[in-house]
Symmetry: C2
Subunit: 327 residues, 2 copies
Amino acid sequence: MSEFQLIANYFNQPSLTSVGESPAELGIGDDCALLSIPDQQQLAVSIDTLVADVHFPAEAAAEQIGYRALAVSVSDLAAMGATPSWFTLALTLPEANESWLAEFAKGLSCAANQFGIRLIGGDTTKGPLTISIQVQGIVSARQTMLRSNAKVGDHIYVSGTLGDAAAALDYVIPQPMLSANDTPTIAFLYQRYFQPEPRLLLGKQLATLGVNCAIDISDGLLADLGHILEASAKAEQPLGAQIDLTALPISQALVSQTNKAQATHLALTGGDDYELCFTASTELAQQLSPLVEAGEITLIGNITTQPGIVDNQGQSIMVTHSGYQHF
Amino acid sequence: MSEFQLIANYFNQPSLTSVGESPAELGIGDDCALLSIPDQQQLAVSIDTLVADVHFPAEAAAEQIGYRALAVSVSDLAAMGATPSWFTLALTLPEANESWLAEFAKGLSCAANQFGIRLIGGDTTKGPLTISIQVQGIVSARQTMLRSNAKVGDHIYVSGTLGDAAAALDYVIPQPMLSANDTPTIAFLYQRYFQPEPRLLLGKQLATLGVNCAIDISDGLLADLGHILEASAKAEQPLGAQIDLTALPISQALVSQTNKAQATHLALTGGDDYELCFTASTELAQQLSPLVEAGEITLIGNITTQPGIVDNQGQSIMVTHSGYQHF
């Protein structure tokens, strides 16, 4: 099978190329795709690579690999408050295995339809299984959420529950007897890893409300909150965070699969949840309260002037917990 | 070294992030980069992956790998008549080898400055050496060159000389005794592979003159001209091409390193030259003649109504020559 047959058979299909509300001026099939950006809008772009057996188990179902690859990339758009529009796929494969490709494309297409993002181009090459996806989204120039906008006194919030995907990686996926069709607890954790839900709607709601500082949690809460602190600190104003460990949103499934201490550790350090962490001035607390009451977001702490991340007793929680190390 | 130190040490540097004329609204360091596109302009995007020992020799100098990776991606912008603006880099590395990274970044930076394109984001991951680069460029909505615009009777032109990079791969690079500092012939072929020259200025000149059909030659002339024929053919109007084999632009270096027959074969089938192949109506011939006289472009044939690619005697030249097969 040539590269061109492969693209025609699996990727240049309406279920991937005619998705969402943003047609491209020119899609798959030329040297470049061509995009038009609406007036007063900016293009948000992010590229992510997933390597087999580093970022996902190589033996996982191809459909799950495809879905998850697009979901984790789209999560970066959610963290900017952007609306997904277009993506490109650079797929490196050891061989053109037709059933693997069909399943991979199925998962990719499912995610593309879920998030309203269409495939506009890519590159398929022979080599060790590696997936790079660049997502493009549209965002209003006046409503962007940056890592560098946290201020002393801001509340710190997270969406959803934390630690589930890490628990799936530690406890569920290594046990081949368990599967997505197992008990509800196992199924929930399994899904949290393989079908992360980019918080697109929430991201846009937050940006509209005036929240201007957010990140998605891919490396773990401590690591990603650390990125916010680092990006927002200034020479004359160092920043830190105080976290109420008892407030961390932890799912019943996670507690039942581990214990309270382990669950807290995973919630602080586990990556792959793709929930949002954001900060907001206390003046926004009232406007955010409906989302808190609905359980969509949880207030977990505050931005302080003391460098580091501490618990309510002032004890550093960086010493005992650390995030994902890439190298 | 963490991923973040690696990015700070080698990639988040002015020699990569402050290049060219198109500032990004937001560059490296957040969930997404943010771009603004000028009115009446479109964004041209293309992603390319290079896998070690598939698309380049893994043991090549890191500086050459970096330069070439960006050059071959930018070539897709040249083929659209677009001006390079921004690129993202998804770099997968077996280990964070500091001297390799420094040399790779040096080559990348050299190419970025050469082509006026700035680094706005990326992803660094651990795994088998793989480089995906997405380039973004700006193009006037009224001056795009597509593969699908060839017409019966059009002249077919190519830029530069063909087959040099393939000769380098076949004859020069496998001989470790030879190097870029060898005889001028060897140095020329070596450079043609490792420092391909995206035809950016020519691409824009052609688009301005009204040329509306182009492709860059990455898989070989026959394969890439075949893409033009396939994209431009319609049910009621099949297309083919007649090529004057004696007109193919072949460098002295290529002839001296091979012989006439081998040189012609490499010119027809060798990829990696990143020259442009384009078609133009005969009415543009006069406007194109200064480029022909300057040796920048060469008229090699015509678009015909007979499917296939034939020589001046009407003999098919697809039977004996085929392009690069990706799988």
